[in-house]
Symmetry: D2
Subunit: 365 residues, 4 copies
Amino acid sequence: MSTGSENEVRLMKGNEALAEAALRAGMQAYFGYPITPQSEVLEYLALHSPEHPGTVVLQAESELAAINMVFGAAGAGARVMISSSGPGISLMQEGLSYMACAQLPALIVNVQRGGPGLGTIQPSQGDYHQAVRGGGHGDYRLIVLAPASVQEMVDHVFLGFELSERYRTPSMILADGALGQMMEKVRLPPRGTLPHGTPAWATTGKPAGRTKNIIRSVFIQPEKMEEQNLILQEKYGRILDSEPRCERLRTEDAEIVLVAFGLAARICQKAMDLAREKGIRVGLLRPVTLYPFPTEAVACAAETAKTFLTVELNAGQMVEDVRLAVDGHRPVEFTGRMGGMVPSPDEVLAKIEEMAARLRPRAVV
Amino acid sequence: MSTGSENEVRLMKGNEALAEAALRAGMQAYFGYPITPQSEVLEYLALHSPEHPGTVVLQAESELAAINMVFGAAGAGARVMISSSGPGISLMQEGLSYMACAQLPALIVNVQRGGPGLGTIQPSQGDYHQAVRGGGHGDYRLIVLAPASVQEMVDHVFLGFELSERYRTPSMILADGALGQMMEKVRLPPRGTLPHGTPAWATTGKPAGRTKNIIRSVFIQPEKMEEQNLILQEKYGRILDSEPRCERLRTEDAEIVLVAFGLAARICQKAMDLAREKGIRVGLLRPVTLYPFPTEAVACAAETAKTFLTVELNAGQMVEDVRLAVDGHRPVEFTGRMGGMVPSPDEVLAKIEEMAARLRPRAVV
Amino acid sequence: MSTGSENEVRLMKGNEALAEAALRAGMQAYFGYPITPQSEVLEYLALHSPEHPGTVVLQAESELAAINMVFGAAGAGARVMISSSGPGISLMQEGLSYMACAQLPALIVNVQRGGPGLGTIQPSQGDYHQAVRGGGHGDYRLIVLAPASVQEMVDHVFLGFELSERYRTPSMILADGALGQMMEKVRLPPRGTLPHGTPAWATTGKPAGRTKNIIRSVFIQPEKMEEQNLILQEKYGRILDSEPRCERLRTEDAEIVLVAFGLAARICQKAMDLAREKGIRVGLLRPVTLYPFPTEAVACAAETAKTFLTVELNAGQMVEDVRLAVDGHRPVEFTGRMGGMVPSPDEVLAKIEEMAARLRPRAVV
Amino acid sequence: MSTGSENEVRLMKGNEALAEAALRAGMQAYFGYPITPQSEVLEYLALHSPEHPGTVVLQAESELAAINMVFGAAGAGARVMISSSGPGISLMQEGLSYMACAQLPALIVNVQRGGPGLGTIQPSQGDYHQAVRGGGHGDYRLIVLAPASVQEMVDHVFLGFELSERYRTPSMILADGALGQMMEKVRLPPRGTLPHGTPAWATTGKPAGRTKNIIRSVFIQPEKMEEQNLILQEKYGRILDSEPRCERLRTEDAEIVLVAFGLAARICQKAMDLAREKGIRVGLLRPVTLYPFPTEAVACAAETAKTFLTVELNAGQMVEDVRLAVDGHRPVEFTGRMGGMVPSPDEVLAKIEEMAARLRPRAVV
């Protein structure tokens, strides 16, 4: 029997599960602007937020307006979320740089579609560089989570808010159009499991007993600006130390280690199974956090694996982080599709077989 | 005697030299919005463009408006430029992704200031990642040039227009506030040395004899979107093959190779001289193109050098490209300052001496 | 003893009283953008709306964004308010025309300042024409209320919402900077006295049992557009018949009738008292609704009065409506100050004395 | 034989004739944004402005951006034009108030369509109030011209620029969709007949010999703001004295005087002819300037005519100015159609016959 204090199980689309999770995670404000393939997030919230009095859900005039409203709400201490897809996320780059500098928590959701440009509406992972290296100006980072199931669309909302608030920095869920549309069974935590009080630093009006809280991203004197950067870098250092997350499947005895995140990881898992059936020892390392990247885990795998294959729905972006982690000790190859096209497990298998053949050249007879 | 067909020599500020170069390079339209430390570009153009009838110089409503006007002008076949600094460039990320996808040439100028956020107005190199990996969404690249002198502020305007038009892709000059304000003697080419006709693909009104020209970044069918991506990737491949540029100073016998661009390279050159005076064999490899990165040249240097030091005015961004080029064959260290602060040659020298000491540990006595 | 069901008496500034009244009147959403002399409205609502859960108070990106959010909220059936001053109200003219055409209720507050242009921040009545004849395009009208006390700043919020919703058309409170800043004692009705359910026409999601609700201001076929105009004109006819309101002070025996609204009426009342002390029979007719203008009341007064003096804080705008009402039967004069300047009662008295002298020329001796 | 110094005769659409006239009148800059039924203006200028080097023609990001560019260009002394239809003109109201206050000349073209709201694209005269009483905030006026033929679409461009510059105030051409689309033969003056130098007050960069030119609409001190208003009102007084223009047809012996402008006047002229054929003495008074309204001419006509009929393509707007001019001496009736509908001459004739019958009741037999 389901009660208010237990998880609820439902069959849901990824976008809707994410929206429902946000309501259950105590989100206080959402600002957004519609764009395929994530408009269901706004629609679901518009429909269901009245069940959670005090939750503001607003379709802003533009993505630019929306991200600046997020800045304002976050500065006032609210738990706040925004979602969009590639073009909309690009319009938010100034705002994200401002928020990172001002140390404001918020959850940014990018349900990726094929780009560049206005592009297409099919799934993609083409915004990896933008997400993990900062598409905005200056030295800053987002915490980037890469869900690979509808359940993780839910879990990463909770994790994203939690990490964002613990480190006072924006976090991003980097999903894609397929995860957004896919239906799977999900366990939804009850409301109230992620406590949230008004943070001490929030600009909520100065009472007599304390000094003024100031939220800002401008530091006219370069010495002060450098100090702020040192604060940020020290924080990013702690994040790199403590927060990398990944999933490893059969990597212990693997000669070939696939590295893939999100939707690509689902395809790779199937390809791995097919390869194992053919006697090829393949493992899968799936980064769950893209920033901090699980460098240590990849480096460890490089001690036993003979070679790496990175699979992405783009022209090869995360592969640079894999190569930086492997640091020349093993070859790192790449395969991928672009512009909304998704490789089949068989396409990945063919690439695996070709790599396996090179590892064990056929004896000359 | 100076005539219309010879170079003219003047003492100029970097921003003004860049603006004058744009007029002489036959720029037909400029759109921008003021931001320190590059407002002189717009001011100079507003004052002097009337000397070049038919040149449109317009302060738009916002950076967002400006980049979309650039899209329009470029689509109509005009030679067009835009300039800004960090926050303004971040606002252009959607537009840049659209232009890259639509294969439109234009020259983007980023006179970097300290970030992230609204930041400060002192020089910085904090926008490296944004520039070279694409701050916008999707798989695209900008050609990125890194001037290190006022003369290169001029030369890179010509080079930037030329490469941009040859490859039909936006190019960027990644300068900084110090280069923009610095006065040096420059040779200015006469007007007319960089010919420009209306390109065949431009949307200038369809005459009877040809099919319609269409400029677009939307490809609803993912198969078409992938085709467009393959066209782009093939082009980036050609750029990577043919266009990397760098300057090498005393790298032949260097044990320690400094890698630095722009303002940091000027500081490193001085530090190199100081180190050489102390008998430390230091060389300098200065990337002139940041994309395409001079990977081959760095890899070559790794064959003879013992170690690398990357110096940047940021928290360490280009150092990843140096490490990817060195690919684990040699250690790659980093030093830098942030937020508008600039390291002195002595600071860099101290780091060099520390590295040299590690290379040649003092004999135990 | 004050209970929840009785009026509360407080000493308040006009802007704050208006804001508190909005909360008590059950306003569900407020969108605005700061501008002197009415920023206290937004500030008061931001501070106190959390006491009324479910009330959205949002500072939008611009006045343009704000009015379009008002359109959206009103279309969804919410009781919604927006406030600004001259320049901001001008930016809303497109939106107001759209709302009038789409028959959407909302309360618009203009706390007037001296214009035209960016102007000054002192009180003015220079936006009369804009308010009563429609500053936007096409044949439409706003219901316009002109408070003359802090108490009316409260009462007109209730009246404004009520009329707006009864006639499904935007209503405006045309106040001024002095009323906004002035402190007076006010009686505040308890919350809940102005019931509001979701209107049947609101776009709240179509249930099975009814046809789709459509809110729109576009009618491509001119026949349909004319039909919509006839619906609007019929409504304005009913408003003209039923809703004109004015206050008459000592008009019964008056030779000279002053006509003035808002702040100017307060000054005129004092001038009237001074004139009466001097034996000049002066009355005051104060329009409370500017649209519908109390034409009938002015026409009646013209049957007994000898002459009219319109006093406004502008160059003479309402005077046209007085002349249209008097229709040539009596002379109608005008006096006023502009640009934030306010005439003193003595200035008005001097004008009255000059007019009285002309009515009763001194006997030749 | 046509030479460069003679008028050229062409068959042209109203919108194109207006655009060609602007080029011949020496317009230096045009900013706009497309909207039916006047997009041909922008299109014609985009196509033909390259024949006039130095003429800037720019499609801005929005009407808001466009009007602020007009402000800038006018402040710099350029002869500048902008065109739109109802919704776009409403978006410009803040800008127009700023320009009027700052005393900047420019030519605003409103090719009216049916409103209010997004409305329809058929011709209308529903923006009369907005045009003549100032849709923006504060006491200001536009000079408003009402063409009634394609030839006047040309002539009013020259007249509009001339009056605007003589009085340093924005002028407006209030046309409509029918005039914009209608083709008629026009005489086009040669280029160069309307001289234009840079005005002494323009902000073109301060040379040593004079004080700084400042263009502004902000006057913080109300005394200064009132002074500026007095300057404006004195100017409007001169305009009211010197610039009213109208056309009178057969008004000398007319019992019934029709008052109509623009397209409605063309219909009325036909109705007048039909009525004259039936022996009804009808005349037509066509205001050519709507502000200044030809009050004197209407008042004169009221001395001989028995009654007035105002015909407009709206719900009755100019009729108020006719009534103010007639001042109760004669009855003033109104007939019109709305929302893009246009009355036929027969409809007007029917109304005339009904009025004539009332003037001369049939003898009882």
